[in-house]
Amino acid sequence: MKLKLDKKDFDNFLQSLTDGYDLYAPVQLAEGVSVFKKIDQPGEVNLTQLLPQKPAKDIFFPQSEVMFRYEKVGNQNRMTSMEEVKKERILFGARPCDIEAISILEKVFVGEEYTDVYFLEKRKKTTIIGLGCNEPLSTCFCSSAGGDPFLRAGSDLFFIDLGEAYFVELLTEKGMAFRKNKFFQEADSRNLTLVKELEEKAFEKVGYSIPVEGIEKRLGLMVESSFWDRVHEKCMGCRICTYLCPTCHCFDIVDEGDPHRGQRVRNWDSCLSALYSLETSGHNPRPTCQERTRQRLMHKFYYFPKNFNRVACVGCGRCILYCPVHFDIRQVILWTSARRRRRFQWEVTR
């Protein structure tokens, strides 16, 4: 169904959403720093930053999340699980790469044998409104990583900024529930042409130059390669790439409180940390940055595709944007191709 939303009605539209739902959207915290956050006033929404620093995974798999609370009553422990989401939720303004990443997380968290109830409950009760990327950044490479700047998959409604209005598509049953929304108008053929133009322009900008396709085959032959002796050298192990990555899903579980009262909490964790795999005995299976960098890259591009048939990278480019030493994952992907690898060996030994 093709509709449009006039920008003058935009605030009223958002206000109408907050009536029945908890609305999550990009909010600017300081200049150049924005995150997805629950909002009360439409004025808080700020779409100037294409990709908020923290990816939309935060809404489904929060940076820190209480799993259950406990209390000791007499000799017995009483535990209350915190998985329930009381109110239906809307995620507005997530970009296609972030939305694609949520379906990647779903592969991990919703399994045949064990299901992560905390993730599933949030996923089930959230309607996703995607937003197309008219002006991709120079670090974006989604179309190489199996997505594109206007990928609709995963969204329930999809918005495209046409300047004076938003072009609106209702894609799923959850999205169709909004077809009677009083702020939506019928889109005309001029809008459709404009959408097509915007798409073509964005596609051209993102390009397809990063050889992600077939990378699992190439890396499969490189498990014990000397390639890993040098690739990690730049990395100082600050872990920001893994925290801001929309597909990274490692977490730590800790107890906060004392034996009488407290809570069990899970927090984002990172495979680039030395403590991550350190055992009590003192043995560490991944003792240096070399093994840890290999783990990060191999997990994304070799182990994960082996288990789930898709690379665990959506090409959002956050790890490139926020890396303090400019470790560029695109460059590593390029180096994995045979011809480039020779060039890499030559460069680092020079």
Binding site: V117, F251, I253, S281
Partner: protein, 279 residues
């Protein structure tokens, strides 16, 4: 839907100090809810996350055999925060448990075969579960000869001493217990496990070998098994890695594309050969 992160309550029925250095204790746990006991079906080699609220969780292999109904046993080495807290637990106290987790030993593979069990130090726990399972009258006829080689650094550090002396008296089990350094009362063997294995030279014909112990012991025992012509597919070991969730979500225990918690902890040597040496 069942929340896999939610521990079920159990009560400590018995605490037993195993070794003379008092670093190893066996906890015997009883179910507090009947329905939990019915749901808890396990095979030797599986593990559980023991949970002390306020301290955290840690994974431990189940030391009891599935044939011993009504309770679960865990032998715990005092090493970190959670294990120290576990050592401070007393009879009658409540404890949380999640499990059974992991794959366990390939019980079907052992049918109609000889079993060779090689253990070192406190890694003997799940091996004890395996041996006790096959020694049960219902299961003894399913496998042929059972050989157990078990070593510890000193006689005082051997686990399950009472049970070992009972096993010694049995005619349907060949038991070799060895220590690295004997003391004046020790009348058994003295020697390292790999050398004792070489000496005992069990036949690899129709035999499955299971080996658990410290990494250094495993490193030197594998070549001895190769020399005895054990095929890689019939050598099994149980790995340990740092774990949190135990169900393949939190990401920390992977070796290549496999997770020790979900796809392991029991792996064949043939499987391990194909994986990166991240353990």
């Amino acid at each position: 839907m069942k929340n896999p992160y939610f521990p079920i309550p159990m009560v400590i029925k018995k605490v037993c100090t195993e070794t003379t250095d008092r670093m190893l204790r066996t906890l015997e746990l009883g179910f507090l809810k009947e329905e939990d006991e019915g749901d808890f079906q396990y095979t030797p080699g599986q593990f559980c996350e023991l949970s002390i609220l306020g301290k955290g969780e840690a994974p431990f292999g189940i030391a009891s055999s599935p044939m011993e109904k009504g309770s679960l046993k865990f032998t715990i080495n005092k090493a970190g925060t959670v294990t120290t807290a576990l050592h401070h637990m007393e009879e009658g106290m409540e404890i949380g448990i999640r499990g059974p987790l992991g794959n366990g030993y390939p019980i079907d593979l052992f049918q109609e075969r000889n079993v060779l069990v090689i253990g070192g130090g406190f890694a003997f726990t799940t091996l004890r579960s395996l041996v006790a399972y096959f020694l049960h009258p219902e299961n003894r006829s399913k496998v042929k000869d059972i050989t157990v080689i078990y070593g510890a650094r000193m006689p005082g550090l051997l686990l399950y001493k009472q049970e070992l002396s009972e096993w010694e008296k049995r005619s349907d089990l060949k038991l070799v217990v060895t220590v690295d350094w004997g003391d004046k009362d020790w009348k058994g063997k003295v020697g390292l496990v790999p050398n004792v294995l070489e000496e005992a030279a069990p036949s690899s014909e129709n035999t499955v070998a299971v080996i658990c112990g410290p990494p250094i012991m495993i490193k030197f025992t594998f070549p001895k098994l190769m020399a005895l012509k054990f095929p890689n597919e019939r050598i099994y070991t149980s790995l340990e890695k740092r774990m949190k969730c135990g169900i393949g979500k939190c990401g920390r225990c992977n070796i290549g594309h496999l997770y020790v918690c979900k796809d392991g902890p029991v792996f064949s040597y043939a499987q391990l050969e194909k994986l990166p040496k991240d353990y």
